[in-house]
Amino acid sequence: MFSPSVDNLVNQLTRLPGVGSRTAQRLAFHILQRPKDEALALASALEEVKERVRFCRECGNLTEEEVCVICLDQRRDHTTICVVEQPVDVISLERTHEYRGLYHVLGGALSPLDGVEPSDLRIDELMRRVEQNDVREIVLATNPTMTGEATAAFLADRLRDRVRVTRLASGLPVGGDLEYADEVTLGRALSGRREM
């Protein structure tokens, strides 16, 4: 509609998650209006990230080296591994400053309906880490969704005899009112209540 190169840019931007054609058009015109060096800095950042960022050999987290800084950090507790679905979950858990162990990124969750099977996830790598290193606890931090729970149950079955397996607690969000909690979450909060 505009010119082949603008159309191409709009098409490329539309491929990003959550970006529709209107947003893509707005972004494309914004890029066109900015100075050339600013637009090229974006292009070079995209190129650099694709060139340099890869998955950590140990945990599957994003890194620019072969092994990520978390796995290399000797001050962390190497006997505990927290299992998450995606690299973004590592960032969320790190923000808590409550956890000092290592991570293992599965790369998704089991979902028979979508054809995601154990062989599609980094489960064998996790088993290898447990066997080869002196791991004492696995913290299952997959999402509290149907697929996340199914993945946690599957892993717990395979790991239970070898190592201590724990699951993130689920219940009421801190700062929220009880009256707004949904029945399932409140039910789980009740069944997971603790002694005081």
Partner: protein, 247 residues
């Protein structure tokens, strides 16, 4: 054209991550049959939907129908969460087979009250599934019975009381999905083997209420044969293979 809102009972069949914090839901509704809807912001911890829209949930929904293909969830009340089934791996696997069968066989936005009732009864029975009677999930009597009933509701009910080719009532030795039922020794070419016990088992699973499917007392071989009949019927009439059965 202005959109409109309506209230309906629904079961969540599938839930897919979409955009930053949304989910696309595949629903089977009482009023409209299969419906696709978007639940905006559901993945945020502050979402008012909470955990009410996970697969297997039986809910009452307020849906807004706009001009797009997907409707929008604007309100939800939980009728039955089926949490027991979601949190037990065996029950979950059995449940997922039932959900996939619904997804595959009832893909149209067309109300089918009997299919909806069968689905909710299947989920209720799944919660009550006895702990002791566990086999391979695909061969569970409850999900076999549910799928046979769905085949019947879809018009693909296999005819098993006589040979589909010649009408003979004795010496039935096989099942031909292409012909649509049991076949005698003379017409068994291209069929799968089916014993008289297997046929009786399928008849029992069809005629027994879902909640009593386990009480029908089918043996291992009978259940395997029932699964083979269902699988070949899907392949022949629907042109699909179930992912959850092979998983």
């Amino acid at each position: 054209m202005r959109g409109r809102s309506y209230k309906t009972e629904a079961v969540v069949l599938r839930s897919l991550r979409f955009s930053e914090a949304d989910r696309i839901l595949h629903l089977y509704t009482l009023e409209r049959g299969r419906v696709g809807a978007i639940a905006k912001g559901i993945r945020k911890t502050k979402s008012r939907f909470g955990a009410r829209l996970e697969p297997l949930s039986h809910v009452e929904l307020m849906l807004h129908e706009g001009s797009g293909e997907l409707q929008t969830v604007t309100g939800v009340d939980l009728i039955h969460s089926h949490r027991v089934s979601r949190e037990d791996p065996y029950r979950l696997n059995v449940g997922l087979i039932g959900l996939e069968a619904m997804l595959r066989l009832f893909g149209e936005p067309e109300a089918n009250e009997r299919a909806f009732t069968a689905l909710t009864r299947f989920l209720d029975a799944l919660d009550e599934l006895p702990d002791g009677e566990r086999t391979r999930p695909a061969e569970d009597a409850l999900v076999l019975s549910f799928q046979l009933k769905l085949l019947w509701l879809s018009g693909y009910l296999p005819h098993l009381t006589s040979c589909i080719e010649c009408g003979a009532t004795d010496d039935l030795v096989g099942f031909s999905a292409r012909a649509g039922g049991a076949v005698c020794r003379l017409h068994r070419a291209g069929s799968i083997g089916l014993t008289s016990e297997g046929m009786a088992g399928i008849e029992a699973l069809l005629s027994t209420p879902l909640a009593d499917a386990h009480a029908a007392g089918l043996g291992d071989r009978d259940r395997r044969e029932a699964l083979a009949v269902i699988t070949t019927s899907y392949e022949e009439h629907g042109g699909f293979r179930m992912r959850t059965v092979s998983a």
